[in-house]
Symmetry: C2
Subunit: 360 residues, 2 copies
């Protein structure tokens, strides 16, 4: 048993130990075949079984209804910021965006940079993104509505999905995919960089209603085209084979843990413990309105920046890493993705109480 | 010691056993830090040291002169087929391409799809791509000349680089980067998917003259922009951290082996052994003109398709995989990248002689 620390990184983030152990076990000779998954042709029978199982497990574990396609792409959410408008927003049309922080703003900026017409129909920037906007009107002729389900930096998360009628709902779910039961049927397209809840960085999971694939125009870069990459079942070119293999293992782990329902229950317990520790006295201060609090990223402040610095130093010394807030907002942030065990969260809450006793 | 087969895959392909062993050793707790490289923030000190060392080793091992930038991107050569014209070919200009097979043709098609003006100034398609074209005239006003240094499918390889004067030479070096000493100073831009000689799939190495980065227009997808991704030292967004780590290990392995000069010497010996086995009698038939033969991909035919089928079956049974030719051309192909040991090639040559005795 190797020494492991408690990893509260915002992403790339903790992976389940059982997954790492399986990767290690099969690293040099996968299932006795005499080569690593990394060394296999993406057209081999063995890898074909791996990618097909990854797709099937995504459909099963994430409870994706019929009529949806699962696609593995590269380039992270950043490529999707371009791919979504390139594929789904025809010239002359416009799309609606709701801004809940840095990532939403990047999505808007990328669409605009590519000459697309975008309406930001709601934003919580006036309150430094401390909440999910509650009031907005969707343009009925919008090509889609784009939202970010969870803001990693500010620690906000959508609790109820907007009703969009016939306008497809497009969602960047990078930092909370698979953290709770989601009615996928409400969405036109979901994308998620894998490096928080689904695997390592370098692969993006796209879940889209099949008929939306038909919107892709011919004159966009092939590697952004849902129609081409999806049409070739993610094998248009050499995909990031090892990263896809790990996504498969992570999905299998979620299934073995008892599925999304069980994972959600654990995540709610983890979040409850931390938010209770924050709210217990006046020492810690949550930065997010309670009804918008995230299950995945828990930001908070201490009475002074000096104490925040001491908190980071002492927690690191105590074997907990990744607790420094994002460089753009400061403070403390605990990212408690699926693979962060309950034990880690309990240890952190205990550390918070000790720290307060010592410095409060 | 785990059982390992001889891996002649065209890509993803064999990795050095020493590299796999190091990955395995550090998989769950990298250098005793208590977490995997996959679980580290891309902004952490440890990963920063890894990516900086990967860049430094690329410059040292590939003998890249001053004035060049090394960038790690995603999307493979397929994204570069778009990125090169998007960044370097202004509207109203045109670029020259030399076609030596499927990959060159895809590069041309992608540029044309994006509305760019392209001149194919030479092609060996009339001889089924059995050679590198020798005669061509570069347009003096071309934005660049694009070539494919090694054709994985047909087994051809440029032996002398074209003299392009002031026209930047752009090269897809995916299947032979690091196989021999190359005068990088002759090139404006080199790109290579890592999955043949440099690491796993999912990361692309771009080597470019720094001043060419200034050509990138603002209105292209961010993830294709050399100026943005290069300007942020490959950390504009979350890069494929684990794949970059493996590239670092592979470059370290090349260095430990004695560098490019030694690797080239071994590669020439490996290729000599196989081409001699092909040329020894009339049983095997090479498909490439001798002066265009590749050091990396060795395609050949047998007297009949039935014998080719038997060759693939019997070689697989003998512990050698990946010898079936590309589905678009048939026959046999042995890919003998850097990580394929001399022993594997000798075993294959011996098998070829045995097979001929048995079936000839």
């Amino acid at each position: 048993m190797e020494n492991r620390i408690f990893n509260f990184n915002a992403g790339p983030a903790a992976l389940p130990l059982a997954v790492l152990e399986e990767i290690k076990n099969d690293l040099i000779s996968y299932k006795g075949e005499g080569l690593s998954v990394m060394e296999m042709s993406h057209r081999s029978k063995t890898f074909d079984a791996i990618i097909k199982e990854a797709e099937a497990l995504a459909k099963e574990v994430l409870q994706i209804p019929a009529g949806y396609k699962v696609i593995f792409m590269q380039g992270g959410a950043s490529l999707q910021f371009a791919a979504v408008p390139l594929n789904l927003l025809p010239d002359g049309g416009s799309a609606d965006y709701i801004s809940t922080g840095a990532w939403s703003k990047k999505a808007v900026a990328e669409a605009e940079k590519l000459g697309k017409s975008v309406n930001v129909i709601a934003s919580s920037e006036d309150s430094n993104f401390s909440r999910i906007p509650g009031e907005f009107t969707i343009n009925s002729d919008a090509a889609y509505l784009h939202i970010t389900s969870n803001n990693t930096i500010f620690g906000t998360q959508w609790q109820e999905w907007p009703e969009t009628g016939t306008v497809p709902l497009v969602c960047d779910m990078s930092s909370d995919i698979g953290c709770r039961k989601v009615d996928i049927g409400k969405f036109g397209l979901i994308y998620a960089g894998a490096q928080k809840n689904m695997g390592p960085s370098g692969v993006t999971i796209v879940i889209m209603r099949e008929e939306l694939m038909e919107r892709s125009p011919a004159n966009i870069p092939t590697m952004t085209s849902y129609k081409i990459i999806g049409g070739k079942d993610s094998l248009y070119n050499t995909p990031p084979t090892f990263a896809i293999y790990i996504v498969k293992l992570v999905l299998q782990w979620v299934k073995n843990m008892g599925g999304l329902e069980k994972i959600e229950q654990i995540n709610r317990e983890k979040a409850r413990i931390l938010y209770e520790a924050i709210d217990a006295t006046g020492f810690y201060r949550g930065t997010v309105e309670k009804e918008s609090r995230s299950l995945m990223n828990v930001p908070f402040r201490l009475p002074s920046e000096d104490l925040e610095k001491a908190f980071v130093e002492e927690s690191t010394a105590a074997g907990m890493i990744g607790l420094k807030g994002h460089r753009s907002v400061g403070g403390i942030r605990a990212s408690i993705y699926n693979a962060v065990p309950l034990e880690a969260v309990k240890t952190l809450a205990e550390f918070m109480r000790d720290f307060e006793r010592k410095h409060g």
